[in-house]
C-alpha cells in the first residue's frame, strides 16, 4: 500500500509533467484515463488502481491543489458508472465507462414513472424481446438532465407474471434514437429541472441489459444506495469552473449543464441562513410573532445539523448507540423548510404577494415560498421516510402488503394518455 506521501508525490509529478490549461478537455481526460488517474478507486482491471476511498481522496485533493480538472463526475453519470462497474460485463464496462470518465457521454436515470412514484417497483414500462433487441415502451418521469443525456440507466418490466420485484430488468439505453423523446417538465416554481421521457418502440441491444433478466430490482437498489450515499450529488459549483483558461471554460460549461437542474435546491430547503438578515431589512425583526417563527426555524436547523454531525461521529466511532440518520435527516429537512417558509412569509409582509425580482429579495424569498413544497416529496416523500424510520429505526411492524402475487393481477394506475 502506498503511503499518503507517495501518492501525493506521484500525482504531483504526473500533473507537473502533463497538466496544461490550454489542452482540450477531452484530450486531457483521455490522458487521465490512460494514466489511471480518472478513477483511482476502481479496480486495476477497469481504469483504476484499486485504491481505497481514503487513498483516492488524496488523489482528488492533490488534483485540487494543482488546480487540475479531474474525470467527469457531476450529475447522474456517476450513478451510471458505479452501477455498471458493480454489475456490468467486461464488455459493458469497456464500452461505457471510458466515455463517462472523459465526459464524452452524459447519462440520465430512468426509474420513476407517472404511475409508480413512492412505489417504484410498481413500474409498468414494458421491455419485450424481439430478436436480439429489447423493445421498450412506456413513460418515465423526474429524469434529471434527460434532454442533454446520451444514455440512460433504465428499469423496465420483462415479466408480468412474476411478483412485482422479480419481473424487472435493468438496461443501458441510447437516448439519441427516434423512439426516445425527452420533454422538460415545468414545476410550480417555474423551473424545469426534470424531464418526462417517452419511449415508443425504443431499442436496446441485448448486449446492453445490465445483469441478468429479472435482476433489475436488485441492481436498481445498488443505484439508489449510491444515490443516497451522496455520490453524484455534487451540486455546488466547482471553484475550478471559475478559473481562467481554455480547459476551465470547457469544464465550466460541462458543470453548468450538469448542475443547472439543482439551482433552486437551496430555496426548497428554506434558506434559514437568510432569515435574520431579511427580517432586519424588512423590519419584521421587531414583530414578536415573526421572532417566534424565525427562532423556531433557526433552532430546528441547528438541531438537525448537530444531529447529523452526531450520527456521522457515531458511524465513525462505531459506537453501540444506534444512530438513526438518513430518513430522520430528510424528515427534519422538510420540517425546517416548512418552518422557514412560514417565517419568510411573515418577514416579507405585503411583498409576499410578489414573485421574482419584484419580491424585494432578488426573487429568493418568493422562490422559497414556492419551492418548499418540493422538499417533502423529492427523493422519497415524508410519508415514505416515516415508514422507514418507524420500521427500520424504531422496529415497528411493517404494514401488510397488498401487492404480492403476479404483477399483472395487482391493481395499478392506468397509463396516462399523452
Amino acid at each position: 500500500m502506498p503511503t499518503e506521501q507517495e501518492i501525493r508525490s506521484e500525482v504531483s509529478a504526473w500533473l507537473e509533467a502533463n497538466w496544461r490549461v490550454d489542452r482540450p478537455l477531452r484530450e486531457w481526460r483521455e490522458m487521465l484515463l490512460e494514466a489511471r488517474w480518472a478513477a483511482p478507486a476502481w479496480p486495476e482491471a477497469f481504469y483504476g488502481r484499486g485504491y481505497t476511498v481514503a487513498e483516492a481522496g488524496i488523489v482528488t485533493k492533490t488534483f485540487r491543489a494543482h488546480g487540475a480538472v479531474g474525470a467527469a463526475s457531476v450529475g447522474p453519470r456517476t450513478l451510471a458508472a458505479e452501477t455498471i462497474l458493480a454489475h456490468g460485463s467486461a464488455d459493458q464496462k469497456h464500452r461505457h465507462l471510458p466515455p463517462i470518465l472523459t465526459g464524452q457521454f452524459s447519462w440520465t436515470q430512468l426509474f420513476s414513472e407517472p404511475g409508480s412514484g413512492s412505489d417504484l417497483a410498481g413500474l409498468s414500462t414494458r421491455a419485450e424481446k424481439r430478436g436480439e433487441d429489447w423493445i421498450i415502451n412506456g413513460q418515465k418521469v423526474w429524469n434529471t438532465s434527460a434532454h442533454h443525456a446520451d444514455f440512460g440507466i433504465l428499469v423496465a418490466r420483462t415479466d408480468w407474471d412474476l411478483p412485482k420485484h422479480q419481473g424487472i430488468s435493468y438496461f443501458l439505453i441510447d437516448m439519441r434514437q427516434a423512439g426516445v423523446e425527452a420533454r422538460p417538465l415545468r414545476q410550480m416554481n417555474g423551473h424545469a429541472s426534470f424531464n418526462e421521457v417517452f419511449m415508443t418502440d425504443a431499442v436496446v441491444p441485448a448486449a446492453d441489459m445490465l445483469g441478468a433478466e429479472g435482476e433489475g430490482w436488485r441492481i436498481a437498489m445498488t443505484t439508489l444506495s449510491i444515490e443516497r450515499s451522496g455520490f453524484g450529488r455534487d451540486r455546488s459549483a466547482d471553484p475550478l469552473a471559475t478559473r481562467d483558461g481554455p480547459i476551465y471554460d470547457e469544464y465550466a460549461e460541462e458543470v453548468r449543464i450538469a448542475i443547472e437542474p439543482y439551482t433552486w435546491y437551496p430555496q426548497r430547503a428554506g434558506r434559514a441562513d437568510l432569515l435574520l438578515d431579511r427580517a432586519r431589512e424588512t423590519g419584521a425583526i421587531a414583530n414578536p410573532a415573526a421572532r417566534q417563527e424565525i427562532a423556531k426555524a433557526l433552532i430546528l436547523a441547528k438541531g438537525a445539523a448537530l444531529a447529523n454531525q452526531a450520527a456521522e461521529a457515531q458511524r465513525r466511532s462505531g459506537s453501540n448507540e444506534v444512530a438513526p440518520a438518513g430518513s430522520i435527516g430528510k424528515l427534519a429537512a422538510s420540517t425546517i423548510a416548512r418552518q422557514c417558509s412560514a417565517a419568510h412569509t411573515l418577514i416579507q409582509g405585503d411583498a409576499a404577494l410578489l414573485a421574482g425580482a419584484d419580491d424585494g429579495a432578488e426573487g429568493i424569498a418568493s422562490e422559497v415560498l414556492l419551492s418548499v413544497p418540493a422538499i417533502s416529496i423529492a427523493g422519497g416523500t415524508d410519508e415514505i421516510q416515516r415508514n422507514i424510520v418507524s420500521e427500520r429505526v424504531l422496529g415497528m411492524p411493517k404494514e401488510p402488503r397488498f401487492d404480492t402475487g403476479p404483477f399483472r393481477d395487482i391493481p395499478r394506475n392506468a397509463p396516462k394518455d399523452s
Partner: protein
C-alpha cells in the same frame, strides 16, 4: 331589496343562488381553465365577466337596486366568493366589485350614483389602491393630496387588480381622517408586477400630480368596518379554495394506486384528510358567521379577525396537503394544485396575516372589555 336573513342556515333562495353561481363558474370559468389564461397572459375572459354582470348580476350584487345593483347583502356575497374561491376565478371580481365596491359605500351620493351603475353592469372596472395591504393603521400615509384636493402624489406599491382597472379609488391620510379619492387610470403610472398568485395580477401605481376628486371620507370606524368586511369576504374565498382542494385531493387519492391499493386507504393519509376537514369546517363556520354579522347591527370586528386567521390557516393546510398527497405531480405546473397554493399563500398576507389578526383580536377584546 331582498332580505338577508340572520339565521344560521341558508334560505332556499340562497341555496338556489349558490347552485346557479356554482354551475356558471364550473361551466364558464372552471379552475381547469386558469392555466391557459395565465399562459396566454390574459388575466380573465371578458365574455365571462360580461356574463357575470349581465346574466348573473353578481358584479353589483351588493350595490343599491336604485343604482342598478342587486341590493343583496354580505351573505350572498359570501356565497359568490366561496364559489369563486372553489374555481379560482381570475377576473377582477374581488378587486373591483368587492374591494372598490365596498370602499364606495363610504363615498358621497353623487359619486355613488356615478360609479355604482358602471360597476354593476360590468362596463367599468375599479381598483382600490391601498398603500398598505396588511395594516390598516398605515393606510394612506405614502400618498398625499394637493392643498385643493385636486391632485395626488405618491405610490401604492402593490395594487391587486390595478392593471385591469379603469378607475382607481385611493385612500389618503389627512387631518380630517382618510380621504377617499377617485382617479382615472389614465392619469397614473401603472407598472405590472410579478404576482405570486398569477391568477390575481398586481401592479404598482404611482401618482404624480394626478388629477383626483375627493368623493368621501372614512372615519376610523369606517376604515375598521371596511377592513373587517374585506377580511370576512376574503375568508369566504379561502374557504371555497380549501374545500375544492380537500375534496379534489380525496378524489385523486381514491384513484391513485400505489402498492396495490388506492392511496386513500392509507391510514396516515386518511387521518391527515380528517384533520383537514375539521379545520376547514371550522373556518367555514367562522366565515359564514362573519357574513351574517355583517348583515346585522353587531360589530363585525371580532368575527372578522377570527374568520380571516382561521380561513388562512385552514386553506394553507389544504394547499400543503393538496401538493404533498399528490406527490411529485402536485408540484408540477401542469397540475392545478399550485394555482390554489399561490392564491392561498398570497391571501395569507392580504389584509393581515393570521398572526396579525390574532393580535388584533386580543387588542379588540381588551378594548371592548375595558369599554364595559
Amino acid at each position: 331589496m331582498a332580505d338577508t336573513t340572520n339565521a344560521i342556515a341558508f334560505t332556499e333562495e340562497q341555496d338556489a343562488f349558490r347552485e346557479v353561481v356554482a354551475r356558471f363558474l364550473a361551466t364558464r370559468a372552471p379552475a381547469a381553465d386558469v392555466r391557459a389564461l395565465v399562459e396566454a397572459g390574459r388575466p380573465y375572459d371578458a365574455d365571462v365577466w360580461q356574463a357575470l354582470a349581465q346574466e348573473l348580476g353578481v358584479t353589483g350584487l351588493h350595490l343599491p337596486e336604485a343604482c342598478g345593483g342587486g341590493g343583496f347583502g354580505p351573505v350572498e356575497l359570501g356565497i359568490v366568493l366561496e364559489e369563486m374561491g372553489r374555481q379560482l376565478y381570475t377576473g377582477p371580481y374581488f378587486t373591483s366589485s368587492i374591494m372598490a365596491g365596498c370602499a364606495l359605500h363610504s363615498a358621497d351620493a353623487d359619486a355613488q350614483a356615478a360609479l355604482f351603475p358602471t360597476l354593476a353592469d360590468g362596463s367599468s372596472i375599479a381598483a382600490l389602491a391601498l398603500d398598505s395591504l396588511s395594516d390598516p393603521a398605515r393606510l394612506g400615509l405614502s400618498i398625499t393630496a394637493s392643498a385643493d384636493g385636486a391632485h395626488l402624489d405618491g405610490t401604492a406599491p402593490i395594487v391587486p387588480g390595478g392593471l385591469e382597472a379603469d378607475v382607481l379609488l385611493v385612500l389618503v391620510a389627512a387631518d380630517y381622517g382618510l380621504g377617499l379619492f377617485r382617479v382615472s387610470a389614465a392619469d397614473v403610472e401603472i407598472s405590472p408586477l410579478q404576482s405570486l398568485d398569477p391568477a390575481r395580477p398586481v401592479a404598482s401605481i404611482r401618482f404624480a400630480n394626478s388629477p383626483a376628486e375627493r368623493i368621501g371620507t372614512l372615519s376610523p370606524q369606517s376604515v375598521q368596518r371596511l377592513w373587517d368586511t374585506l377580511s370576512i369576504l376574503l375568508a369566504h374565498e379561502l374557504v371555497g379554495a380549501a374545500e375544492a382542494l380537500l375534496y379534489g385531493t380525496v378524489e385523486y387519492m381514491e384513484q391513485r394506486m400505489q402498492f396495490g391499493r388506492p392511496i386513500a386507504s392509507f391510514q396516515a393519509l386518511k387521518h391527515r384528510c380528517a384533520d383537514l376537514l375539521m379545520e376547514v369546517e371550522l373556518a367555514k363556520a367562522l366565515a359564514r358567521e362573519g357574513a351574517r354579522v355583517l348583515a346585522s347591527d353587531a360589530s363585525p370586528t371580532e368575527i372578522a379577525h377570527m374568520a380571516k386567521s382561521m380561513a388562512s390557516d385552514a386553506a394553507m393546510s389544504a394547499a400543503r396537503a393538496g401538493i404533498q398527497l399528490r406527490g411529485g405531480i402536485g408540484f408540477t405546473w401542469e397540475n392545478d394544485t399550485h394555482f390554489y397554493f399561490k392564491r392561498i399563500k398570497s391571501a395569507e398576507v392580504l389584509f393581515g396575516t393570521p398572526q396579525q389578526h390574532r393580535e388584533w383580536l386580543m387588542t379588540h377584546l381588551e378594548a371592548t372589555a375595558h369599554a364595559h
